[in-house]
């Protein structure tokens, strides 16, 4: 039992922290998130050079990490910095060929996981997209960074079971738009698109994605909590700092307690990733992150009392991303009942 990161991970974390602090501070993030592209290819290339994408994959996969703990470590930091680049999509490269994955790792190929459908939040067994004779037809919704994609990893039904398929971006019709939580996304129509069946089960990529989103949420929670604690100490009302009001103290403690629980859920999901219990712990983590994320986002805004409602204040955007993570890839109820069923 050991909760301290390995030396390699500590170095990776430090590198990432330094990069994000120096190069991805809030005004830059806002500029990127609000840009026409909704992400920065230049930033992406630099991040690839730092090895951040490679760290998402095992040595067998051509990377130098890829354990649950690596993914959790990276996404927690990406969350804290509100990064909008397509890291979630990069995870989908685990399902691609080694050549493609090598390109993803160096940042020259962008892969995107297209999974959610209208009215079907997560369950692979309920997909409407279908592959017949190697052609994929169906519509995916709210796919983040879809415009950045070179290749889509698409979930669809074939012969009555779900599977992942690779589809070239050129074979997809996009209706793009900005996203509430920053960056851009799109609804995607596949119309008899040439699709290559991949070996990785949908459920495996889903688990990895859920772990990553939960870790990202954890980083966002920490940011919201830190800012709120700082604000309560600074802001005075009726002559005393807000941090001296016991009702607010106890609410801040409740936040901290639940954030620590979320951290544990992410550790659990990371530890069990790829094992028989992986899906169950991934569902537990996403459930925990959704519930705690809603609480922390609401409390961060409420305890700031207005200022965190403004576009100008970074915590408004952290709260939005944190909230939306609870909405995507299955919400708290979905994953709670998956936990029961798994």
């Amino acid at each position: 039992m050991d909760f301290s990161p390995t030396d390699d991970r500590r170095m990776l974390g430090d590198t990432l922290d330094r990069f994000l602090a120096e190069r991805y501070y809030h005004p830059t993030r806002m500029k990127i998130a609000g840009s026409d592209a909704g992400w920065s290819r230049e930033m992406w290339t630099q991040m690839a050079e730092l090895g951040l994408i490679g760290a998402l994959f095992t040595e067998d996969q051509g990377g130098f990490g890829g354990a649950g703990a690596d993914i959790a470590l990276i996404f927690e930091r990406l969350g804290r910095a509100l990064v909008v680049e397509p890291f979630i999509g990069a995870l989908a490269a685990a399902a691609l060929t080694q050549d493609q994955r090598d390109e993803v790792i160096v940042g020259t190929l962008v892969s995107i996981f297209a999974h959610s459908e209208a009215g079907v939040s997560v369950d692979p067994a309920r997909l409407n997209a279908t592959v017949t004779d190697g052609k994929l037809t169906g519509t995916k919704v709210a796919v983040a960074n879809a415009e950045a994609a070179d290749i889509f990893v698409v979930s669809a039904m074939q012969d009555g079971t779900s599977a992942l398929f690779a589809v070239a971006a050129t074979d997809a019709q996009l209706t793009p738009y900005p996203l509430m939580d920053g960056g851009r996304g799109a609804d995607i129509r596949f119309d008899n698109a040439a699709a290559t069946r991949l070996d990785m089960p949908v459920a495996d990529l889903l688990d990895t994605t859920l772990l990553a989103l939960s870790a990202e949420a954890l980083g966002l929670m920490e940011r919201c909590k830190d800012a709120t604690v700082e604000y309560l100490k600074t802001r005075r009302q009726f002559g005393v700092p807000l941090s001296k009001f016991q009702a607010l103290q106890h609410r801040a403690v409740d936040m901290v307690t639940e954030i620590e629980q979320t951290r544990s859920s992410v550790i659990n999901a990371g530890h069990h990733l790829g094992t028989a219990k992986g899906a169950k712990y991934a569902a537990a983590a996403k459930y925990t992150a959704a519930v705690t994320g809603k609480l922390v986002a609401q409390e961060a805004i409420q305890l700031h009392g207005g200022i965190a409602m403004t576009w100008e204040y970074d915590i408004a955007h952290a709260a939005k991303r944190l909230t939306m993570i609870g909405q995507i890839m299955g919400d708290e109820d979905t994953h709670l009942m998956r936990f029961v069923a798994l």
Binding site: V141, A142, L179, G306, Q327, M337
Partner: protein, 393 residues
């Protein structure tokens, strides 16, 4: 004990409903129902319609243009308006300055300003909050220093809702630094066209421009614009805070929002999710309960009792319910709440519609309505009030 309205009140409700059916433009109702952006013209159009019927300033005395309604009638009116998706009456002139002038204004102020509020000549905004002083009005810093027949005003107001449209602002300003902090505050009317005033937009987290900062640099205001006596602003502010607000629970808004929610769920996968059904039922029961809690407070008000802490209680519960309905509405949209297309909420938008009905405003409403538990005295402040007034703590 009788939970029913009287036949007269039922007839009154029917009259309101009939009038709304005839006079509320469906263009406006549709914009409200689908959370579209209302323009200044939209709001003015609706004010004018209400004014022409004599229902705009429905809590003013008859001699100043009010309809002579009691608390129950006002509640029914607000309830029907909300359920018909009428635009909210912009409160700053009608519901805030109006009562203040009626109670504390000079005859001249009343005869000058009140008609102009009614006919829409003057659009008012409110200058209470300052950076660093939200609910804690006693610590406000904007100063008004006497200079001959004028005051010279310096300072900054914030969270000034719809201040970008305003002709006038009513302000709490500091006119004395001696004594208790709340004793040196005055209530001043300021023409927004006066030199030295600058309005800067504050964009909210959903991108909307709803509130503003208002900066005052050596702004010269005639002393005749003082309401009441100098240094009595605290009394006026407190009067407004406890001023009977029949609609504070937002029953009508929540009722129509819940109806929208239910009609939308039916088309999503949440339709057959028992956990989601339970969530909706919980908020529906809370709303059914609150309707009666609200009516109990109303009945007491109609019986002459002044609702004090009870309206704090209604505000707390009312905002919790509305925010929960917003949360459920967003949850029902799932990932399709994520697209952010503000222009889709402008009239005349011709771009693609993304997702099911409601997807365009679900997240925006959720985030925007986090304000409900913050402004008008945060829910924490309301709890302090209830704690003191109802529990004697």
């Amino acid at each position: 004990m009788n939970l029913d309205f009287t036949p007269e009140q039922d007839a009154f409700r029917a009259e309101i409903r009939e009038w709304l059916a005839q006079n509320l433009p469906s263009r406006l109702a549709d914009k409200v129902r689908t959370s579209k952006h209302l323009t200044k013209q939209d709001m003015e159009e609706w004010h004018a319609a209400l004014h022409s019927r004599g229902w705009l300033a429905n809590h003013w005395p008859v001699e100043h243009g009010g309809p002579g309604w009691g608390a129950v009638e006002k509640f029914i009116f607000e309830d029907e308006c909300a359920m018909a998706h009428a635009p909210r009456i912009v409160p700053f002139g009608v519901s805030m300055l109006g009562p203040v002038l009626l109670k504390f204004g000079s005859e001249q102020q009343k005869s000058h300003y009140l008609p102009r509020i009614l006919d829409g000549t003057d659009w008012w905004c409110q200058g209470y909050s300052e950076p660093g002083a939200g609910s804690d009005l006693a610590s406000l810093k904007t100063t008004a220093v006497k200079d001959g027949d004028d005051y010279i005003v310096n300072g900054q107001k914030t969270w000034t809702t719809l201040g970008q449209h305003a002709d006038w602002i009513f302000c709490l300003v500091r006119t004395a630094k001696e004594g208790k902090p709340q004793e040196g505050i005055s209530f001043l009317l300021i023409d927004m066209k006066t030199p030295g005033i600058e309005v800067r937009p504050i964009y909210l987290l959903d991108g909307d421009h709803e509130v503003n900062e208002v900066w005052f640099t050596d702004v010269r205001v005639p002393a005749a614009n003082l309401v009441g006596v100098e240094n009595s602003g605290w009394t006026i502010a407190k009067y407004l805070l406890t001023y009977e607000r029949t609609g504070i629970a937002g029953v009508g808004f929540s009722t129509s929002a819940l109806a929208e929610l239910k009609s939308v769920i039916a088309k999503t996968e949440k339709a057959d999710d028992p956990l989601f059904a339970a969530r909706v039922a919980r908020v529906e029961i809370a709303l059914e309960n609150m309707k009666t809690t609200n009516m109990r407070v109303l009945a007491a008000a109609a019986g002459g009792a002044a609702p004090g802490a009870e309206s704090s209680l209604l505000k707390i519960k009312g905002t919790e319910i509305r925010q929960e309905i917003n949360a459920l509405f967003m949850a029902a949209m799932g990932p399709q709440a994520q697209p952010f297309i503000p222009e889709a909420l402008d009239e005349g938008y011709n771009g693609p519609r993304i997702g099911p009905e409601g997807a365009a405003w679900a997240a925006k409403d959720y985030f925007n309505n986090r304000k409900l538990s913050i402004f008008g005295g945060s829910n924490e402040i309301q709890k302090n009030i209830v704690s003191k007034a109802m529990l004697g703590f």
